[in-house]
Assembly symmetry: C2
Homo-oligomer: 167 residues x 2
């Protein structure tokens, strides 16, 4: 349990961190705003999925998801095929141009972060990722614990996963 002053400070930091997010947003290609980038990223990490699943991972309303998905589909970065198991659903899948776009996004954000965090240790970056992941978990999103088998240890060990269903 933390003190009130700490909670106030955390709230302030959460508010202020959006400046960093905006900075990252500025390096995106003109026709790929952050909403589109998030769609591509999640499809790249989690593989094909339905709209509802993507909405859950994005932690936004499905109407919002629908708009973002339409944007990336219009540009040919994903395909929406009917779900044979449920004709109401559509399966989203990255196309080859979509993967290329995703690579470009990754390249740009990595480049910016590598520059900005030049003096951060690997451990410190890892600690920040871990704490942010845990923060999201504490806020009741069972979403996006990436489970990328690569280098990111984090995620699971600390996730405290409440069983609550997101809004």
């Amino acid at each position: 349990m933390a003190e009130r002053a700490q909670y106030e400070e955390l709230a302030r930091q959460l508010s202020a961190i959006s400046a960093v997010k905006r900075d990252l947003g500025r390096i995106l290609p003109a026709d790929c705003p952050s909403g589109s980038a998030a769609v591509l990223t999640l499809l790249g990490r989690h593989g094909d999925m339905r709209m509802s699943k993507l909405a859950e991972l994005l932690a936004v309303d499905m109407s919002v998801t629908s708009r973002h998905v339409a944007h990336v589909a219009d540009r040919g970065w994903i395909e929406r095929s009917p779900d044979p198991a449920d004709k109401r659903s559509r399966i989203l899948r990255l196309t080859d141009p979509g993967r290329a776009q995703l690579d470009e996004l990754s390249r740009r954000s990595t480049e910016l972060l590598a520059e900005r965090l030049i003096d951060w240790s690997d451990d410190d970056v890892g600690r920040l990722i871990q704490l942010m992941t845990r923060l999201r978990a504490s806020f009741g999103d069972c979403r996006s614990t990436p489970r990328l088998a690569q280098a990111a240890p984090v995620a699971e060990s600390v996730a405290h996963r409440t069983t609550r269903t997101p809004a």
Copy 2:
């Protein structure tokens, strides 16, 4: 220096953390959106200041600051008095109703965070605050957090990125 996979993961976490921000935003009073709350919070922490200083602390354009400030001024939460030293400037100051509003904001966000972070240790919350503060600093915002970085006075050098606050 961290690895590419770590940078990608950090970018993803930064994107996803906005869900937490939105959650915090939902508990705000109807006539006090997050922009207004940020204005009140910064005035409460840093004391009276000019528009330009507030814009710097908010890390947004002055035009945006102007709108937020107009909103809170319309509701009587702050006063804008002319700066005797420079008639172009206006000094912003919290009013008593403004402090009351700020107290209410603090009460609500603290309550929500206390509930969500019930199983977090004081130290972990502190570590997260510290790392988020450092992240912002690494992204070139010279803004300070009084509680953690006591050393950043008003007249900071505007030199982006040379100012670091390892806390």
